[in-house]
Each structure stands twice: as structure tokens, then as C-alpha cells.
């Protein structure tokens, strides 16, 4: 019984592989008119998202965003500089875990992905980025915010999304905007966050920046709880005891629901909820379940540009397919694949070095999100990325309840409600 590990390809594997490929090519050509066969190539893009696990709601939305953009590009004739090559999305599921994300990315690269995208979570992004640098596969992240993912001499890692620093600057900037516009200044605040890398980094950074900002709001307590927590009654009792004027939650969908309901039940008096930047308060499911309790919650967040025709077109298609609106995450997932398509168009090749060279030259304006044109700086971050301030407001149409209230050039509603009517007085 000899068990030698062979590095190359032996005869049998060769015959098997070519046989399978041959069969595949042969069958796929059946019934296809000759004219269409002029562009037989497909370009594989690997998308690793948290499609199962505690972030599955978002992960599935991400996948759908990626897929919608790929379908759009393909319907417009694919990558024209490469003879109309079609984009094919290879799907990976990180299960919300870095190690799984990495092995899934590895699998997709082995299956022929020439560009990687994803992965929503910063921890997973770190793992995939290291892998992509080793394998020399361009990694154009659609969503992932932690600053440290890019830079440090990385050559293949780029991000379309905003960085945590960018997010935080927006959070303080809009808080200043709201308080000066309304002429009210909260004095005490509580920060809550999920204890995953993103939640900790985001809220920790926000607390530091608030101290530096010169705003007279004192953060009297910080409450952290695990991702996927089922019960926040004790935490809300502590929030109440801290007597805050305003709450700064870095939350996710499940905990946003229980947090808000507990605030209602325990009659916690607040001027409002102001999210420094996290998904949770703008998911349609959350808005539906919370009903009037979610009104007037504000979140600083990278957001869709309601006025952009690209958004309107994509949103209509997304709503038709999935009965949900294209939210920040899925819109960035959509943008990510559009940017990749633009890069491939200019690179006219799947060679990693050519893709990287084209990525560096990116100047992509026709995207569906709030912000300037997508351009990448030295580190690989998007200099055009910008946040918006959104507020949930009453509206008959569930899908229209989230309104952009700042900055002005993107705003749908000039009205900002702050302080809010107490949760139990609605």
C-alpha cells in the first residue's frame, strides 16, 4: 500500500479531468445557436457571504445583491472587452466564521474564481484577504469596515465599502448636525454593542472620537452583549439605571428588536436612538416587527442613493425578485460586482496583475449608493465612500419608511424628528 503524494497531475487524473471538461463543453453546446457561441467564456467571481449563522439575513441579501449585479451585467452583454464574457458567481458560505470563510474562499479560488468579493464581516475579511494575498487573487470587498483589513503592504486587497474611521467621522459629524439644527443637546448617553470584532471596534472607536469631538455628551455606560443574544432585559434595566438622554446602539437585527421592546416595556425615557453605524435598525423585517416603536430611530450609515437611476433600476429588480428593498448591504454587494465588472472591462484580461493595474485606475460613477465616484487610494480604500444619516419615519409603505435626512444633496426628507415622542406615547 503505497501512499505517495504526487505534486503534478498523473495520467488518470488528466484523462478524467479532460474527459469531464470535454463532456461539459460538448453538452453545453447542444442546442445553442452558433451565433451565441462566439463568446463561450465565463469569468468566475467568488462571493463568500455569511449565508447561514447569526448574520444569515444579511448574508443572503449580500448574495442576492451580488447575483443581481452579475445578472444585470450579463443581460447587457457581459464584459465586452473580453468578447462578451459572462460573469459567473461562485457562492461560498462563511457561516459567519472566519476559518470557514477562509476555507470557502480557498475552495472558490480552486474552482477558478479570478476575483473574490464579499464577505460582510471584518473578521472573515481579514482571513480571506491573507489568503488572497498568498494566492495572488484580487479581493474587491463589497462590505467590510475594519480599517486594518487593507494597507500593511497588501497588494490584492481593495474595499468598496467605507472604513470604520470613515463611518465614525460621519457619526460624529451628523450628530453635531442634528443637535445644532434642533438646538437640543443630550447630556448623558449609553453605548451598547454586540461583542463581535465589528461591534467592539465600532463602538470603541465611537467612544474615543466622541471624547475628542468636543460635544458635551458624556458616555456614562457601555454595555456589550454577545452576538445572537436572546434576552436583553437585564441589560436594559442597566441602561435605565444609567439614566441616559440618548442611546448609541451598535446592533444587529435580532437584538435591535428585543432592545427596543425592552426599552418600551421598562419605560426608558430617551430623546432618541442614534446608531453610530450598524445594520439592525433598517432591515425591513425589523421595521415590520417593531411597527411604530422604530419610528424616529436615526442611523449613520453608508446608504443607497434614492435619487440615483442606477439605484431605482436595481431596486425595482430586487423588489420584484425578493420582495425586499435594496438596503445598504445588498446595494454595496451590487456595487461591488458592478465595480468588478468595470475593472474587468478595462483590464480586458483575467490576469491578476492586469486586474490590479485596472483596479488602481478605477473611477466609477454609476453606482447606487450615497457617495462620490469609486476610486481606490494607496491602501486600497474607496475615497468616494460616504455615510448618510437615515431616520425611520411613519409611512404607509413599509419600504418607504427609511428616509435619508442628510447630507442635503441626497436627502429625501428635510424633516428630522429629534427629540422623539417617548416609545409609549405613540
Amino acid at each position: 500500500m503505497e501512499k505517495k503524494k504526487k505534486m503534478g497531475m498523473d495520467r488518470r487524473t488528466f484523462i478524467k479531468t479532460t474527459g469531464v471538461i470535454g463532456l461539459g463543453v460538448a453538452t453545453s453546446s447542444f442546442g445553442v445557436p452558433k451565433l451565441l457561441r462566439a463568446a463561450p467564456t465565463t469569468i468566475k467571481i467568488g462571493s463568500v457571504q455569511p449565508a447561514t449563522g447569526p448574520l444569515a439575513v444579511i448574508g443572503v441579501g449580500q448574495r442576492r445583491g451580488n447575483q443581481l449585479a452579475a445578472d444585470y451585467i450579463n443581460s447587457k452583454g457581459g464584459i465586452k472587452s473580453m468578447g462578451g464574457a459572462k460573469l459567473e458567481l461562485l457562492l461560498g458560505d462563511s457561516e459567519s466564521k472566519p476559518e470557514v470563510g477562509r476555507s470557502e474562499a480557498d475552495r472558490l479560488i480552486k474552482e477558478g474564481a479570478v476575483v473574490m468579493t464579499g464577505p460582510f464581516q471584518s473578521g472573515v475579511a481579514m482571513a480571506i484577504s491573507t489568503l488572497c494575498e498568498q494566492r495572488q487573487v484580487p479581493f474587491i470587498m463589497d462590505v467590510a469596515a475594519l480599517d486594518q483589513i487593507t494597507g500593511k503592504g497588501k497588494k490584492y486587497t481593495f474595499r468598496v465599502f467605507i472604513t470604520v474611521t470613515g463611518l465614525l467621522n460621519g457619526a460624529v459629524k451628523y450628530l453635531e448636525h442634528v443637535t445644532s439644527l434642533k438646538g437640543v443637546m443630550p447630556k448623558r448617553a449609553v453605548v451598547t454593542n454586540t461583542a463581535d470584532p465589528f461591534g467592539k471596534g465600532m463602538s470603541g472607536g465611537f467612544i474615543k472620537l466622541m471624547e475628542k469631538s468636543g460635544l458635551p455628551i458624556k458616555i456614562v455606560e457601555r454595555i456589550q452583549y454577545p452576538l445572537g443574544i436572546q434576552d436583553l432585559s437585564a441589560e436594559v434595566a442597566r441602561i435605565k439605571a444609567a439614566r441616559p438622554d440618548v442611546l448609541f446602539p451598535v446592533s444587529r437585527p435580532g437584538d435591535s428588536i428585543i432592545l427596543t421592546r425592552e426599552l418600551y416595556k421598562q419605560r426608558v425615557k430617551l430623546m432618541g436612538i442614534y446608531g453610530p453605524g450598524s445594520p439592525g435598525y433598517y432591515e425591513p423585517g425589523v421595521i415590520k416587527d417593531l411597527g411604530r416603536l422604530i419610528d424616529y430611530v436615526m442611523v449613520n450609515v453608508p446608504w443607497i442613493n434614492p435619487k440615483s437611476p442606477v439605484y431605482q433600476q436595481a431596486n425595482a429588480a430586487f423588489r420584484k425578485a425578493h420582495d425586499r428593498y435594496l438596503d445598504t448591504n445588498s446595494a454595496y454587494a451590487y456595487t461591488g460586482v458592478l465595480v468588478i465588472a468595470d475593472i474587468l472591462e478595462r483590464a480586458a484580461s483575467t490576469d491578476p496583475d492586469k486586474i490590479i493595474a485596472a483596479t488602481r485606475q478605477t473611477d466609477f460613477k454609476n453606482h447606487p449608493v450615497v457617495g462620490g465616484p469609486v476610486r481606490f487610494d494607496e491602501k486600497g480604500d474607496n475615497t468616494g465612500a460616504l455615510t448618510a444619516l437615515i431616520q425611520v419615519q411613519p409611512d404607509q409603505d413599509l419600504f418607504k419608511r427609511v428616509k435619508v435626512v442628510a447630507p442635503k444633496e441626497f436627502a429625501e426628507s428635510g424633516q428630522i424628528v429629534f427629540p422623539w415622542p417617548q416609545l409609549w406615547e405613540r
Partner: protein, 299 residues
């Protein structure tokens, strides 16, 4: 900031009272979940690793009844418990009865797989979203001075105690209950006196499943459902069962109350991220100093 936290803890006894009441009320439901597990373990000696997942399925069934027919979870409790009773009966007769004589390590796998199957079934049927329909009482609260009592928790607590008492009476007084206890005491003896042990096992597993189903329904107005929440509750049920004593039903209830209060009150001193550290520390301490559990007899 640390001083502010210190001041809050130091002066607010209302907070402590609030936390203890909330913990106690939730503890009743923990006890009910654990009682199902304890019953199954006590009778058959198998640990039901699909316990939390069965509860999640019950929650979804109740959710469905609520959303599609508008029937409040408290009213659909009996129906949901019956549905999960049947599910439990089938799992026992199709799977568990066949593996009873296997080594323990081999008993684990089919039940873990069952848990995975149920979890993915929930994912398939209801999707990954967190669902938390607003039921009639889910936002109601009573106030005793400055202390808030969550009505849905209170109802859950009272019903949990009630169900526990019912099951206790069932096991003590009815014929089937006596057969279950006989089969659990001495399997061979039970067979010798003519008890159809396999059928009794089916009934016990089904009863355990129905109990956890009832707990799930009571939880529906309190916490959002997602397909993945089962694990957490299987673990909680373990801790509670070990705390109270394996196979001891009253122990399960008391263990649930202790764990609920400990978890809730610990947030006074510790960050909520360490909640599970508290529960598992209790587990380890119990294992070290009183491995038979608080109410367990000598093994």
C-alpha cells in the same frame, strides 16, 4: 466611565430587584425546557441533543398559527404541544428506540443529527430572518413601584409552574405515569411485569418534547425566533438538568430558577458577554462538589 458604572451598581437597589425578578421569571421557562430533557434522560438514559431545536420548531409552528390564523400563542399552546408530541413520538420510535443499547458515544450522533435536520428544516421553511411578531401581550408591563414586571414573562412563569405540577401529578397518579416511572427505575423489571417498554419510551420522549414545545410557545412573545437559537437552549437545558440533578423533575425547575436569577443578576457585576461564563462556572462548580446535582440522590 468606570466610576460611573460603580456608582450605578452601588446605589441602585431597584436595579438589583428588577434583575432578580426578571431572572426568576425567565428561570421558570428554563426549568420547563430542562424538565423535558430531564424526563427523557431520566427514563431512557439518552441525552436529547435535539432538544433546543425541537423547541424552535414548536416556536415556528406557533408563529405560523399566529400569523396565518391570528391565534395568540397562549391559545395555540395545546395544539403546538400536541404537534411536537407526535414529532417526539415519531423520533423516539423511528430512531431512539433503536439506539438505546448502543454505547453512549454512539447515541449522541443520531440525536445531534436530528438537531441539525430540524434546524435546517426551520431554515428551509421559514428562512434565516429573526421573526418576532407583536402578540397581544408582548408589550404589556405591570409596575410595582419602580419595578417593572413583564406580563408575558409573568404568564410564561405561571404557566411553566402549572405545567410542571401537571406533569408531576401525571407521573405520580396515572397508570401511564406509573409505567413510565417503572420503566425508568428498572427496564427489565418493567418488561417482566408486562409493560410495553418501547411504547412507554415513545410516550416519555413525546412528553418531554411536548414540554419543551410548551416552553417554546411561552417564549415566543418574549424573544425573536431564528433557526439557530436551538443550540443555546440545549446547552441551557443541560446546565439546568445537571444543576438540579439528572432525571429529577423538581430539580429541573429549581435549577432553572437558580440559573435564570444567576444569569440576570450577574449583569450587575459582569458584562453581559460573560453571561455564559456564569452559567458554565456554576456547571463546573456543581460537577466538582455535588456531581449528582442539588436534588439528585446518590448514584
Amino acid at each position: 466611565m468606570a466610576t460611573a458604572v460603580g456608582a450605578v451598581i452601588g446605589m441602585d437597589s431597584n436595579l438589583a430587584l428588577q434583575l432578580i425578578i426578571q431572572g426568576l421569571l425567565l428561570g421558570g421557562i428554563y426549568g420547563l425546557i430542562a424538565m423535558g430533557l430531564s424526563l427523557i434522560f431520566g427514563v431512557m438514559g439518552v441525552i436529547n441533543f435535539a432538544h433546543g431545536q425541537m423547541m424552535v420548531i414548536a416556536m415556528y409552528v406557533s408563529y405560523w398559527i399566529f400569523v396565518l390564523l391570528g391565534v395568540d400563542p397562549y391559545l395555540s399552546l395545546v395544539i403546538v404541544a400536541a404537534v411536537i408530541f407526535v414529532l417526539g413520538y415519531l423520533i423516539q420510535s423511528a430512531v431512539v428506540n433503536r439506539i438505546l443499547d448502543y454505547p453512549e458515544a454512539m447515541q449522541v450522533l443520531p440525536l445531534v443529527s436530528m438537531g441539525l435536520i430540524l434546524e435546517n428544516l426551520a431554515l428551509l421553511l421559514w428562512g434565516p430572518d429573526h421573526r418576532s411578531p407583536q402578540t397581544a401581550l408582548s408589550l404589556e408591563a405591570l409596575w410595582i413601584g419602580p419595578v417593572m414586571i413583564d406580563v408575558s414573562r409573568l404568564i410564561a412563569f405561571v404557566l411553566a409552574i402549572f405545567i410542571t405540577v401537571l406533569i408531576f401529578i401525571f407521573l405520580k397518579k396515572t397508570n401511564i405515569g406509573k409505567c413510565i416511572r417503572a420503566a425508568s427505575d428498572n427496564r427489565t423489571g418493567a418488561i417482566l411485569v408486562g409493560i410495553n417498554v418501547n411504547r412507554i419510551y415513545n410516550a416519555s420522549f413525546a412528553l418531554g418534547a411536548a414540554t419543551t414545545a410548551a416552553a417554546g410557545v411561552l417564549l415566543l412573545p418574549i424573544m425573536p425566533i431564528s433557526p439557530y437559537m436551538g443550540h443555546d437552549f440545549t446547552l441551557i437545558a443541560f446546565v439546568v438538568v445537571i444543576l438540579g440533578g439528572m432525571g429529577n423533575l423538581i430539580g429541573a425547575l429549581v435549577g432553572g430558577l437558580i440559573l435564570g436569577v444567576a444569569e440576570s443578576a450577574s449583569t450587575l457585576f459582569l458584562p453581559a458577554t460573560l453571561k455564559h461564563v456564569v452559567s458554565f462556572s456554576i456547571l463546573i462548580i456543581i460537577m466538582l462538589f455535588r456531581p449528582q446535582g442539588i436534588f439528585g440522590g446518590k448514584s
